[in-house]
């Protein structure tokens, strides 16, 4: 049982939904980002998605694109992101960290070496946007062999037949992308999402978490009430990019967590 599995088990006992927060490693600087990361559990975050900066984030909207650019400009690398996670793991042994990003920095690092380094750093799962089931041999299967969860994205374009493929080799949870589009887009509509979550749950026992287009505590609450959890990313990064202090951003994160946990 992985840290992610244990987290969902705990939440289920408490009758709560999971609040998943995304931040970009190294944005706006490695130091501030590390401080924010360490503050997330106390703000009510159940699972952390730590974004790996990449020059060409094809599935991301402007907010996350710019966060990645700020991180890279501040000298962030894959190695430093691993160090950041390792540091976090020293002070928190419970909260799962999922690396979210694109394949090339991992491929460049070397898959085998990356999996070993990620495991050593206390990483629990991976969401790699540009690795669909068709490319499972690249990273998905080796990751699961190494004991890391490989979390797959299901989308509105994933039809029932394809859903079987998508759910195979998935572990930890399923990430339902609530809209066709990029991160930080228009608000996701819970009326549209509800039947989709039911459709996915019919095919798997894994928890289904919904992300993309969730910007406010209210929206997070609505979405969480019809799924096993909600992900917020761009809205948190926006607060940070407006020059707010880590404490202020964490306050916003806490309000999102409250929304989700009330659901």
């Amino acid at each position: 049982m992985t840290r992610i599995d244990r987290t969902f088990q705990r939440l289920s006992k408490e009758g709560k939904k999971a609040f998943v927060a995304y931040i970009m490693a190294g944005d706006p600087s490695p130091e501030i980002s590390a401080e924010l990361l360490c503050g997330l559990p106390a703000a009510g975050v159940d699972i952390i998605e730590l974004g790996l900066p990449f020059t060409d984030p094809m599935a991301d909207g402007l907010t996350i694109q710019r966060a990645g650019q700020r991180a890279l400009a501040a000298g962030m690398t894959l190695k430093k992101t691993l160090d950041m996670a390792r540091h976090f793991r020293k002070i928190d042994q419970e909260t799962p960290i999922v690396f979210m990003g694109y394949y090339n920095p991992i491929y460049s690092h070397g898959v085998e070496k990356f999996l070993k380094d990620a495991k050593d750093a206390g990483i629990d799962g991976l969401i790699i946007v540009d690795l669909p089931p068709e490319e499972d041999e690249e990273l998905c299967i080796p990751a699961q062999v190494a004991g890391l969860n490989f979390i797959r994205l299901a989308t509105p374009t994933t039809d029932n037949l394809r859903l079987i493929t998508v759910l195979t080799n998935t572990s930890g949870f399923v990430y339902y992308v609530s809209i066709t589009g990029i991160t930080g887009s228009e608000e996701a509509q819970s009326d549209d999402v509800e039947p989709e979550v039911a459709r996915i749950k019919a095919g798997t026992d894994l928890p289904v978490v919904v992300g993309f287009g969730i910007n406010t505590p209210d929206a997070a609450k609505k979405i969480a009430s019809i799924a096993d959890g909600a992900v917020v990313g761009s809205a948190i990064i926006k607060e940070l990019s407006r020059g707010k202090s880590v404490a202020e951003v964490l306050e916003f994160v806490a309000s999102l967590a409250e929304g989700v946990h009330d659901a």
Partner: protein, 410 residues
Amino acid sequence: MPNELFNSFMTGPDERGRFGNFGGRFVSETLMPLILELEKQYEIAKTDLNFWDEMNELWTNYVGRPSPLYLAKRLTNELGGAKVYMKRDELNHTGAHKINNVLGQIILARRMGKNRIIAETGAGQHGVATATVCAKFGLKCIVYMGAHDVERQAPNVFRMRLLGAEVVPVTSGRGTLKDAMNDALRDWVTNVRDTFYCIGTVAGPHPYPAMVRDFQSIIGKEVKEQMQLNEGRSPDTLIAAIGGGSNAMGLFYPFLDDDDVNIVGVEAGGKGVNQKMEHCASLTGGRAGVLHGNRTYLLQDDDGQILEGFSISAGLDYPGIGPEHAWLHDIGRAKYVSITDEQALEAFQLCCELEGIIPALEPSHALAYVMKIAPKLDKNHIICMNMCGRGDKDIFTVAKHLNFDMSEVC
């Protein structure tokens, strides 16, 4: 030779879209069902005579194919060695080879019931070709173009707008072709239901590299026939410029199994491949990585971050290369070299003066390599280079580099 049939270089890609270890389908889940459907529809179209009848009719009467195969006599004499032929794809409607592929994809889009077409463009030639065919069929056309390219290719931006396309300047990254491709992919992921992504080169997720190659292969097929008529044999050496590599793949592909034909791709050397990344020579100066849906050679740093290339030619300014080229490079079937901005500019001028042809800066790179090797070759050696685009769009860039003040002419 035993197993000759099994050693064919023309059977790729495999069912996973791979050429050896290159290619593949590295896209987000949202796009995956779309490219699977595209692959299915393309496989049907490929063997449908009606599809090819429509293509051939338009290639003949709209594009002006076959394009001539021209013996460049004065250039041949000047260089004093090999006989130099030019495949005149710059005479196509819209002035480049790009329209060969656009026609195929747009006819396919129409068969699939998609009425909103998006495209990325670097030099603007693919954008113009897409805007043109969309105008002809009454389709909505949105072209993503790096802001930096919008600036250096202003005439093409105006042409696209005249043709009714919306040109979206892309400011992310350094504002070149790679960034335009990112934004086109973001558009596609957002507008999945009605939108067809018309990719301009032999890159992207499977089936694009194979599909674009197949549409561009008309170039090589014609060369084969025309050279047979002119010389009674195949050329000895094929030379073409490479950014993503579609004109080159189109010329090379029909000759891949003709092992007496040398194949040379010319990458953009910018200010020189030895200096730090001021070039776009992915094969000469990059290493394998994954970007824009495929594994191929990329310009990247130690952390796997993609680097911006550099070239005088907007059409070659891309940090990657089509996966089939990456494979042909690794197995040694084709040779890849690089030519600097300066050498390309020299070739550009020589071609204007000796042949009365103003070439685009992209084929000027191929021509510069011809100039390099032709003098050392025997007079019976036949070179065929692909004159894949005309230089009208580049005159402002060239004027700037030659310190020629346009405003003083009038």
